[in-house]
Structures are given as C-alpha cells and as structure tokens.
C-alpha cells in the first residue's frame, strides 16, 4: 500500500513538473512575449527592452523556467503588472470565493444525484427511472452559465429573493456570503448532477446483480437495507471516479459562472487578467487550475485504493 502510494506520488510530482514546463514552453512559443503583450504595440523599443530585462525575459528559457520554478516552490508566483501585488496573494484572496463555490456545487450535485440515481436503478424502467433519465439528459446539455442567467431572472428579477450577483465578503457574515454563492453553486451543480445521476444509476444497476447483494436479500434484509447498506457503497467507486474526471469541467464552469454572477473568484481573476493582458496572472492561474485538476485526480486515485480493497492487494 505504502509503495503504491509512493509510486503514485512520484507520478504526481512528475506530472506537475511536466505541466508547468509545458505551459511555460507554450507561453514562450506563442508569438509576442509577455513584455510586448503588457506594453501593447505603441511602446518604444527602449521601454520594451527595459521591461524585458526587468521581467528576466532576456535570459534563456531553461534559466527562466528554473528561476520561476524555484520561486513557485517558495510560494512566489511573480508580480501582477496591473495590480502591482504578488500573484500568490491575489490567487489566495480569490480562493476564498472559488473554493466554497466549488465545494457547495459538488455537495449539491452529490445530494441531488445519488438519491436520484439510486432510485432510478431501483425502479428500473419505472417512472423514477424516466424522470432521472430526463433530468440527466437535460442537465448535461444546458450550459452552467445559462442556468445562472435563468436563476438570476427568476430569483432576482422576478421574485427578488436573491442578489443578482456580487459578493459581500465573508466579513459581512456567513449567511450573506453563503446567499451570494448559492445561486452560482446551483448553476454549477446542475450539469455535474446530470452526469453523476447517470453514473450512479448504471453503477447501482450493475452491483444489484452481484452475488453479495442477492445474499443480503436472501438473508432477509429488506430491499432498502440491501440497497443502501450493500449495493450503494459498492457502487460508489465509479461515482467517485466521475467526480474526479468532472473536476476539469467544474473549473471551466466556475470561470463562466463567476463571470455571470460577478463573483471575485479565481475564474473572474483570469478573465480580468485576460482583459488587462496581465500575462503573469494568466499563466499562474492556468497553472494553478491545471495543478488542482492533477492533484484532484491523484486524490481520486487514492480514494480508489481506500474504497476498493481489491486494488490494495494487487499492484496495478
């Protein structure tokens, strides 16, 4: 088990290094260097040269990468040119919005999808199955940012129950902040819930035909107990995998939804950085999100090892 985790951890570190090198190389390969992007086309050659030197762009790629990587390992992601502050601090500040948003969204999607998927499997081809099928077909197809707009129309414009956007900050009280995140989280959760419902349904269907569930039933357990105590826990593995795989889409959704609701999260930071051509921030945010996806997948892999004892025994 320890060797297995160590091996995965080594893989994780290599992947993280490679992804950072790749993004660094792509940024270098693209036409126009960060200095000219920041200064625009009207800058004089002297100003450009000065900024290039200031940013260390006159150094060879490998040296720049090494210097940057050294900085990252010490928590230094460089300086934002528009905000004039360290990027690490900017991202950390914005995470106070993005992490709770993603967390509430994942929680919501699980709360919706698992009961719905389980009931759909239990009443296969019944009404519940049709409802769940319809729900997942529709929710997978709707863009999260559109759901956000619809929620704003309904709950802010028509009913006036919820704020249409913005974030008061956690300092203004938990409820106010939570309320500001609720609609965006619902918008973000819906497409995820559709995918999870589908996976839960087919996983439970598969497990329900296994011998151990039949044994549970035959020793006199009620259908519900057999389902929830024996079938569902064993069906969770593909559900957890799907949660991990969906993480990329969750992040993409968050970038859009944060922009719809004007939330000062990391996604909105990336968008503002793009508008202001703040390439250092752009690069760091992309790297940060990519690293997050990779670490998430690593954690899912670990969860796999914990949930499924068969994987612990054999070396994969």
């Amino acid at each position: 088990m320890i060797t297995l985790i160590a091996r995965r951890l080594a893989g994780l570190i290599i992947t993280l290094l490679l992804v950072s090198a790749l993004i660094f190389a792509v940024m270098d390969f693209l036409p126009g260097d960060p200095a000219s992007v920041i200064l625009g086309t009207s800058a004089s050659a002297d100003t450009l040269a000065a900024l290039r030197q200031d940013m260390g762009l006159d150094q060879p790629l490998v040296l720049r990468y090494a210097a940057w990587l050294g900085g990252v390992l010490q928590g230094d992601l460089g300086q934002s040119y528009t905000y004039g502050v360290p990027v690490a601090g900017l991202i950390a500040e914005r995470l106070a919005v993005t992490i709770p948003l993603a967390f509430i969204a994942v929680l919501l999607s699980i709360v919706i999808a698992i009961p719905l998927g389980v009931q759909a499997a239990r009443h296969q081809n019944g009404l519940m199955d049709v409802v769940a099928g319809l729900f997942s077909h529709v929710s997978i197809a709707v863009p999260a940012f559109w759901v956000g707009l619809l929620l704003i129309i309904l709950f802010s414009t028509v009913l006036g129950w919820m704020p249409a956007g913005g974030f008061p900050g956690w300092g203004s009280g938990f409820w106010a902040a939570f309320q500001a995140l609720l609609l965006p989280a619902v918008a973000l959760a819906l497409p995820q819930a559709g995918v999870l419902t589908r996976v839960t349904r087919s996983a439970v269907l598969e497990v329900m035909n296994e011998d151990f569930v039949r044994t549970a039933r035959s020793k006199g357990l009620s259908e519900n107990t057999a389902l929830w105590r024996h079938a569902v826990p064993n069906a969770l593995i593909p559900v957890v995998t799907m949660l991990g795989l969906q993480f990329t889409f969750l992040i993409a959704g968050a970038v859009l939804v944060e922009n719809v609701f004007n939330l000062p999260g990391v996604g909105r930071l990336a968008f503002q950085a793009l508008a202001q051509r703040d390439v250092v921030v752009m690069q760091d945010v992309v790297l940060f999100f990519a690293a997050l996806v990779i670490v998430m997948n690593f954690l899912v892999d670990l969860a796999y090892l914990i949930i499924d004892p068969r994987l612990r025994a054999g070396v994969r």
Binding site: L18, I23, F145, L149, M282
Partner: protein, 272 residues
C-alpha cells in the same frame, strides 16, 4: 430498420440534429432578415411582436441571429472535433501499435493536456494570438486530442489481442498495415459515437468561449455572445437570455441522444 425504430433516443436525437444542421445550412442562403441589420425603432421587441422571436437591443432580428449562430456554432465545433478526433485517433492507434514506453509517455502527456480546461487554454492563447474563431477551434481541438487518444488506445489494444490480428502478425504483415486493415475498421464505430458526443461538448465549450468574448468576433452572431449581450437586459427582455440558451441546450441534447442511440445501435454488447 426495425431496430432503429425501436430506439426513441436515437430517433429524437437524429431529428434534432438534422433540424439543427438544416437550419445552419439554410442560414447560409436565407434568413428572415439580415442578422446584422439594426432597426433601433424596433429594439427589444418581444417574440411575435416584431419578427418570429423578437429583436435585441439594436433591433436585430433574433430568429435570424439564432439561425446564423447555429451555423457559426456548429461549424466551429465540427472543425474543432474533426481536428481533435483525427489527431487523437492517430496518436491512439500509433501508441497501440507501439505499446511499451511510448504508451506511458503519451498517456502521461494526455493527462497533462486534459488537466487544462479548454476555456483556460483559450484564454491563454487569446492573450497572445488574440481571440477569435481560430483560437476557439485550437483550444477545443487540443482538449479533444487526449479524449480520442485514450478512447482509441483502449479500443485498439483490445483488437490487437484478437486471433485474426495474431494471424496477420504471423503472416508477416507490418504494424502499420495491420492498423489500417484490421484495427481502424474495427474501432471506427466507437470513434463515430465519440465524435457525436464530443460535438455536443464542443458546442457547450464554444458557447462558453463566445460568452467570454473569446469566440468569433462581432458582428458575427454566436449563441454564446447573444447570451453575454442579454445579461444587461434580463429584466426588460428576458427572451434574449432564454432563446440562445435554449438553442444550445436543444443542440447539445440532440447530439448526446444521437450519440447514445448510435452506441446502442452500433455496439450491442455495451448497453448498460
């Protein structure tokens, strides 16, 4: 034929997709009004009050914009998926023929590419080469490569273990020839199904990119930018936010249903 008729998912998906494609093609020759024609006197008119689906803040005909949007969205997505599927399949079958260290390296590379959502790579590309259709296509296509590489590798690996492939190896056929005569024809169904499903995802991503201003530049109407423009008029003109979103949802749902239906039809073994 009877097996086709017994699958409502496939039929509904097919009808929606055909409708979408027809609307997109028709928009190249005809739209009720020019989608860029501004009539300020008729601005923000509700559906049926002026034109079939009303007008936007500049008095442009929403129905015409949606029609042209269908073409823009579909053609961008189709190009992106075509590039991604071709490259991804090439990588997948190549790796399946090579196995060993190549497989480890390529699959690791796929993990890395898959870790960057297309929205973010489009933003990164947009910062340097400017946003536009080209950026959107590249960003979506790059994300599709690992999807198809993984799929074809898995499928091709299975075919490589079949007896007829072993026989072909025994007869001295080289790996390239086997890939073209045995592997590709046997995994083509799975690729077709995946193309259909990924097209839906590409439409969603393209809409997201356009929404952020990273898609086709104005005045070309796209569903995503129509939604972005509608944000300012959620109160007075909610239909501006409803209709393009509905178009995206219906298009994606149609393609997903078609993909699911095709999978059932083409691969009867996998019907869970």
């Amino acid at each position: 034929m009877s097996s086709v008729l017994r699958r409502p998912t496939f039929l509904i998906g097919l009808v929606i997709t055909l409708f979408l494609v027809s609307v997109a093609i028709v928009s190249l020759f005809w739209t009720p009004l020019s989608p860029s024609k501004m009539q300020i006197v008729h601005k923000l008119k509700a559906p049926l009050e002026y034109g079939l689906l009303g007008t936007d803040q500049f008095g442009r005909d929403v129905a015409s914009m949606l029609m042209v949007g269908a073409w823009n969205s579909l053609s961008t997505s189709l190009l992106a998926v075509a590039i991604g599927a071709t490259l991804g399949t090439a990588v997948g079958v190549y790796v399946a023929a090579m196995r060993g260290f190549t497989e480890t390296v390529v699959m690791r590379a796929c993990d890395i590419i898959f870790a960057v959502p297309p929205i973010l790579s489009a933003m990164l590309l947009g910062a340097f080469i400017g946003s536009g259709r080209f950026t959107a296509i590249i960003a979506i296509a790059v994300f599709m490569v690992p999807v198809f590489a993984r799929l074809t590798l898995g499928a091709a690996n299975q075919i490589w273990t079949r007896d007829y492939v072993t026989a072909a190896i025994g007869m001295g056929r080289n790996r390239a020839k086997i890939t073209f005569t045995h592997i590709l024809p046997n995994i083509s169904n799975q690729i077709i199904v995946q193309v259909t499903i990924q097209l839906g995802l590409a439409i969603l991503t393209e809409a997201g990119l356009s929404f952020l201003g990273l898609g086709m530049p104005p005045p070309a109407p796209t569903w995503g930018r129509m939604l972005s423009d509608a944000q300012t008029f959620l109160g007075p003109a909610p239909w501006l936010a409803l209709l393009p979103g509905l178009a995206i949802a219906i298009a994606v749902m149609g393609l997903n249903m078609l993909g699911d239906g095709l999978r059932d039809l083409l691969d009867p073994r996998d019907q869970t």
